[in-house]
């Protein structure tokens, strides 16, 4: 067993850490979160420049051919800088879905544009009542002679406002509850019949609910092409590929959460050394010492489960569901404890918008709600033991 980083991975980690230090100061991040766009275009261009948009993609399409280990290395550092760019939705949720499911031409066009920073994407999959049970998706894409007509509503589409193209999961056959019958469409968000109601999220991201009212799309909008998606094999692919993409997203936010927890632990530890009450630094109180030790252990345990899940995934995409659910449970529980303790030990200061502590706490809270929370993944885990 070897958990050491390769030379390239170490360089990636260092450059991400430098970027966070230089470009992601808290005040600056807070400004960005409050701006209409929600992030900075220049920073996005820098991320493209640094090669962070092409890490997991195949070289054929302009990618770096990296693995989820590289994604993990990057995201842990970016988490410490309160990432708000549409990275997750563009690169993992959408980019990787196209790479798994798309036609040669779609991959050439879309992934190349993603890698160069020219195209941002968002994945519209969730609906009221879906709650991460992908088979429950019910939005319909009705076939017509020259394509499909889409009707329905998608909720909480992450980074939708920034997207140049939307990936929309809809049903071309079957009914809610069927794993088969789902297809993915690549659609211009300005197409007629699409209404996007956007909002900020508690952790500073942007998201939107999107309604589709008789939206007409051509057959070529189907990711993977009409032929494959209209035969059963193709349809199954959409479901399976979505599952894989969700697993990759969990690995990514898992790494981000580990970075966030580490940062909160360090910040809180430092605070208990300088904050004095009753004439001593509060870190001298044994009860707080023990609580910080627990926080430290949660951070370490989370990092371990992250490594386990990433390595299992790299070893076998198909066999890693259990480890990945394990990771989501671990970071959900540890994230809550670490976040809550960080606030509690900061006292009143922890409750304010003035400290970054609250922002990291909120990010951890939101990460638990994304892609299935602790309850969801404990149940999935239970079906696999």
């Amino acid at each position: 067993m070897d958990f050491s980083l390769s030379e390239e991975q170490r360089m990636l980690k260092d450059s991400a850490a430098r970027f966070v230090k230089k470009e992601c100061q808290f005040e600056q991040r807070r400004e960005q979160m409050r701006s209409p766009l929600g992030y900075s275009d220049e920073q996005w261009a820098q991320m493209a420049e640094l090669g962070w948009l092409c890490i997991p993609f195949n070289e054929e399409y302009g990618g770096l051919g990296g693995s989820l280990v590289d994604v993990m290395v990057l995201l842990e550092e970016l988490g410490k800088g309160l990432m708000v760019e549409p990275w997750l939705s563009t690169v993992i949720l959408s980019g990787r879905l196209i790479e798994m499911l798309g036609t040669e031409q779609q991959k050439q066009e879309v992934i190349t544009a993603v890698c160069s920073g020219q195209m941002k994407l968002a994945l519209a999959y969730s609906e009221v009542g879906v709650r991460q049970q992908l088979a429950a998706i019910s939005m319909e894409a009705t076939p017509r002679a020259d394509g499909f007509v889409l009707n329905g509503e998608k909720t909480l589409v992450l980074s939708a406002q920034a997207a140049d193209q939307l990936l929309v999961v809809a049903r071309t056959s079957g009914k809610a509850g069927d794993e088969q019958g789902l297809s993915v469409f690549l659609i211009d968000p300005n197409a007629e019949g699409i209404t996007l109601s956007g909002y900020a999220t508690v952790d500073g991201y942007r998201a939107a609910n999107i309604t589709f009212d008789n939206v007409q799309v051509s057959g070529s909008a189907v990711v993977g092409g009409v032929e494959t998606s209209l035969n059963d094999v193709g349809l199954n692919n959409a479901f399976d590929s979505l599952q894989v993409v969700m697993n990759e997203a969990i690995l990514a936010v898992g790494a981000e959460a580990v970075g966030v927890m580490d940062l909160l632990y360090q910040t809180t530890l430092e605070y208990t050394k300088i904050r004095k009450q009753f004439g001593v630094p509060i870190g001298k109180f044994q009860v707080l010492q023990h609580r910080l030790v627990d926080v430290f252990m949660q951070c370490e345990q989370s990092r371990s489960v992250l490594l386990m899940a990433v390595l299992h995934y790299v070893e076998s995409v198909k066999e890693s569901n259990k480890s990945i659910s394990g990771l989501k449970v671990q970071i959900g529980k540890s994230g809550r404890q670490v976040g809550q303790e960080a606030i509690q030990l900061h006292g009143g200061m922890g409750m304010t918008d003035e400290l970054d502590v609250g922002y990291y706490f909120k990010r951890l809270t939101c990460i638990d709600a994304l892609f299935g929370n602790v309850d969801f993944h404990l149940e999935r885990y239970a079906t696999l033991v």
Partner: protein
């Protein structure tokens, strides 16, 4: 041993229900429904206080001669339950629960006559100026100094975390009048007018993006000595008396039962692939665990109440209800978060403002779930942090 509640209480409950039904307005209920903090939206909370005031019910826990109701502890808790059920917003605690009792206990006759009626009627809005940047848990180390100058004090210093100072026209505060002896010995309890020259208020925005707290600066603020409660350098006794009163009068269980029922109501509405979250046995189990914890607290509180009825003092054991009450509050907000999943994510500060016309992007039941979760983190920090409360029990009850 007896669990039955006398018949007279049933009649009492009906009488309360009738009054609330006939007098509460939709606007006021909305403020209660949307409240994400123990500090409700002040305009509507004050409107509710005025309605209760006219009926003589603004301060049920005060002695009758000063405007209390004369209800016994059971009646008071029935009243609290019925207010909750009707979605009445909680009354702002600083005036009625904190300042009033101090004046009753330690004020002169003139002070009682001057301040108490305006507290009851809501004409005065009080804020609490205890904490300072350097004095939180260690309150006795406070440094805001009041220098004697003839019939006045000249006050200089900074107070922090002052809830609703932006609405208050009055403040009760602790200031230092002597640096001799133990820190507790040089503290004085003062009442002051927020319009006095030299006072400035700066907002502190919370992590839930709501403005509740403030920093209050004192720059040579002249306060008449007549505004002092108790003796000079004896403010610590007043503050301690207030704490005792606060703890004796507070009951968590009724509100907790109510909040938990709300979570059930939410869970029944959250659709998951055709069934509801409430149907999920994982979820129901957590719900039941919390209900049992609340029942335990309810009967602990009943035991304390019963001791009070028999003329005993609750004592430091009351720290237990603060710890358990706030911990369960927090756990309930977590359960709600788990119930609504990603519907908790949108930032909806404008939508949940009472009277707002902003459109919610999530189902109504999910609107206040995240703000309540975020805000409830403060409950284990304020009013003496739970670490400090455990310290009190260890020392005063366990004798460690």
């Amino acid at each position: 041993m007896d669990l039955t509640i006398g018949l007279k209480y049933h009649e009492f409950r009906e009488q309360i229900q009738k009054f609330i039904r006939e007098n509460i307005t939709d606007d006021i209920r909305e403020a209660g429904r949307l409240a994400t903090s123990v500090f409700a939206e002040p305009k509507r909370a004050m409107a509710w206080q005025k309605i209760l005031y006219k009926q003589g019910w603004a301060a049920p826990h005060w002695p009758k001669q000063f405007g209390g109701t004369g209800w016994d502890v059971v009646e008071r808790s029935i009243f609290a339950q019925e207010c909750l059920k009707a979605n009445a917003p909680p009354l702002i605690p600083m005036s009625l629960l904190m300042c009033g009792p101090c004046i009753i206990g330690y004020g002169t006759e003139e002070q009682k006559a001057e301040y108490l009626p305006k507290i009851l009627s809501g004409q005065d809005f009080w804020c609490q100026g205890y904490s300072e940047p350097g004095a939180g848990s260690d309150l006795a180390s406070l440094q805001t100094f009041a220098e004697s100058d003839g019939d006045d004090y000249i006050v200089n210093g900074t107070k922090i975390w002052t809830t609703y100072a932006q609405y208050a026209n009055k403040m009760f505060c602790l200031v230092r009048t002597s640096r001799e002896g133990k820190p507790q010995q040089g503290i004085t309890f003062l009442l002051l007018d927020m319009n006095t020259p030299g006072i400035s208020v700066e907002p502190i925005i919370g992590l839930d993006q709501v403005h509740e707290q403030n920093t209050v600066f004192f720059d040579n603020v002249r306060i008449p000595k007549a505004n002092r409660i108790g003796k000079e350098n004896d403010g610590w006794s007043v503050a301690k008396y207030l704490l005792m009163f606060e703890r004796g009068g507070q009951e968590y269980a009724p509100a907790l039962h109510f909040q938990l029922a709300e979570v059930r109501n939410i869970a029944e509405q959250v659709d998951v692939a055709g069934t509801s979250v409430w149907q999920n046995p994982f979820f129901k189990r957590k719900y039941c665990e919390l209900e049992i914890e609340i029942s335990a607290l309810e009967f602990t509180e009943n035991r304390i109440k019963s001791a009070l009825t028999n003329g005993q003092n609750p004592g430091p054991e009351a720290s237990m209800t603060k710890i358990r009450g706030t911990e369960i509050t927090q756990a309930i907000t977590e359960l709600a978060l788990e119930a609504v999943g990603e519907f908790a994510l949108p930032l909806q500060v404008d939508v949940i403002e009472p009277g707002s016309t902003c459109v919610s992007v999530v189902p109504e039941y999910a609107q206040t779930v995240m703000p309540k979760y975020l805000n409830a983190r403060a409950t284990s920090i304020y009013g003496g942090s739970n670490e400090v409360q455990r310290g009190i029990i260890a020392k005063m009850v366990l004798g460690l």
